[in-house]
């Protein structure tokens, strides 16, 4: 296979991101990668500001292209852009940019499923590519997603389980919010959990004994709310009590994620398991998952894609590269946002 370069564009929700990948038979290199994250704005307003995100996508994507000296004629072999799932208004910023460039330059476009991008983030890690043998079982965990996906081959997937209500990342953020922790609540909760006793509070493990590989986290949220409101104001302010509750919440979420992944691995016999998405940055989840799968099935958990956990364009370019190699291109004239896209 001849080496090729591919541009990736991502604007499905809060982040605007651009990346250029060089792919050859022996290596995959990220030549350029820049993400305009909304986090400084979050901190200023104490929450996510979606409208700001949607409006700034336009300005951000143009300055990202400027800095990568790409517009309007990029010197790449293909342009991969997130087609969905996501917000229509946000997705269209990336898509229209890709279409304009394709029209001006004749470079082919590839519409990429955002979820496939997350799966491809694991493949961007060199050590993982060395043992990339199908089938691979992926646990996709983020603020908006909790899915167990069987990767049967490049571009071939089967969702074997998913959340029926809240996503795992949402469970972290919302329980943190109930306890009055700051934003983003998930990482703060995990940090406090380090100094807490995870057996201090008895929290439910929703769907634990259900035979499906589906998840449910909204009941946990309600249980945490009842537990928190049952504490005296003095106890609510006690740091050790707070740490204990944080540790108990994290343990409940991790327990369910690991148990369901293990059960799915028993059924589908993957060669390896990977964890992708924002929550894959959680150290405790990685540790428990690795120990459990190694002990129970002798299966290893692939390395986390450091720096590529949350939404980014490198993963979109990587998934685009899988399609490009298999000549699965999109017609730029017909390319449109698919807000409800699924794997």
């Amino acid at each position: 296979m001849k080496a090729f370069t591919i541009l990736g564009l991502e604007s499905s929700c809060d982040e605007t991101s651009l990346a250029i990948l060089k792919v050859s038979t022996s290596s995959v290199d990220i030549l350029h990668h820049e993400t305009a994250t909304q986090i400084p704005i979050h901190q200023r307003y104490g929450g996510v500001v979606p409208e700001v995100a949607a409006r700034t996508h336009v300005a951000e994507i143009l300055s990202l292209l400027d800095r990568a000296t790409l517009f309007p004629k990029p010197k790449v072999d293909a342009i991969a852009v997130t087609q969905g799932p996501g917000l229509a208004t946000a997705l269209r910023v990336g898509i229209e940019t890709a279409r304009a460039m394709s029209f001006a330059s004749g470079i082919p476009t590839i519409g990429v499923n955002h979820l496939e991008g997350h799966l491809a983030s694991a493949w961007l890690v060199k050590e993982n590519r060395a043992q990339w043998k199908f089938p691979i079982l992926a646990l996709l965990v983020s603020g908006g997603h909790t899915e167990l996906v069987l990767i049967k081959d490049f571009c071939s997937y089967r969702v074997v389980g998913r959340t029926r209500d809240d996503a795992a990342g949402e469970a972290f953020d919302k329980t943190a919010k109930l306890m009055g922790l700051g934003y983003p609540g998930g990482p703060i909760l995990s940090q406090s959990a380090l100094n807490g006793d995870s057996t201090a509070f008895d929290l439910p493990r929703p769907m634990f004994h259900d035979k499906s590989f589906d998840f449910s986290f909204s009941g946990l949220k309600t249980a945490v709310r009842n537990t928190w409101e049952g504490l005296s104001p003095k106890k609510q302010k006690d740091e050790s009590v707070r740490n204990d509750l944080c540790a108990s919440i994290q343990e409940a979420i991790v327990d369910v994620l690991v148990k369901k992944t293990l059960a799915a691995a028993r059924k589908y016999h993957p060669t390896a398991v990977c964890i992708v998405g924002g929550v894959s940055a959680n150290r405790h989840l990685n540790d428990v998952m690795s120990q459990t799968l190694s002990r129970e099935l002798g299966i290893r958990v692939l390395e986390p894609a450091k720096g590529l956990h949350t939404d980014n364009a490198a993963m979109i370019a990587a998934a685009g590269a899988w399609h490009f190699e298999r000549k699965k291109l999109s017609d730029w004239k017909k390319l449109d946002a698919k807000p409800e896209l699924d794997l």
């Binding site: 929700c13 307003y45 104490g46 929450g47 996510v48 500001v49 979606p50 409208e51 700001v52 995100a53 949607a54 409006r55 799932p85 996501g86 917000l87 229509a88 208004t89 946000a90 983020s142 603020g143 908006g144 997603h145 998913r162 959340t163 029926r164 209500d165 809240d166 996503a167 990342g169 949402e170 919302k174 919010k177 109930l178 909204s218 949220k221 309600t222 945490v224 709310r225 807000p339 409800e340």
Partner: protein
């Protein structure tokens, strides 16, 4: 136990939901009254059961997929397998992450409603009251714990 208050114009009705299946009755009642262009504004604290209520409504509309929380995605829509009184689509919106009322413009909700075949269910309506006030065709559902 949850206490549910349904306000339609000047009419106020109160219901108790004792267990998860109780949401089905509330949903059936709502589904029987809705027409295209309607908004169901669903308020209640974190963990009160708002998404559970929407899941029951989706079921009442014959939608097979169980709607997950749209907090992160902000908006998800579901096609009805069979139109009910002209309703062909359920749009599920969550304003939890919205900080300023103007931000709702990014979702183009007016356009979503203008297609003449959609019903919109909105969680955290208190985040966008000024947008909501412009819409008269509205049912307010408020959920409280014990």
């Amino acid at each position: 136990m949850r206490h549910v208050t349904i306000t339609t114009g000047d009419t106020v009705e109160r219901f108790d939901v004792a267990d998860p299946s109780g949401w089905n009755d509330i949903a059936e009642l709502l589904a029987s009254r809705l027409v295209p262009g309607d908004i169901v504004a669903l308020s209640g604290a974190l963990g009160a059961g708002k998404t559970t209520c929407v899941q029951a409504l989706a079921k009442a509309f014959g939608i097979k997929r169980q709607p997950p929380s749209p907090t992160f995605a902000l908006m998800r829509s579901y096609a009805l397998p069979k139109a009910i009184r002209g309703i062909k689509r359920l749009v599920h919106v969550d304003a939890y992450r919205i900080e300023k009322p103007d931000e709702i413009l990014a979702l183009d909700l007016d356009e979503e409603l203008a297609d003449g075949k959609s019903v919109l269910v909105l969680e955290w309506p208190e985040q966008i009251t000024s947008w909501l006030m412009r819409h008269i065709s509205r049912i307010d559902v408020s959920i409280r714990g014990e």
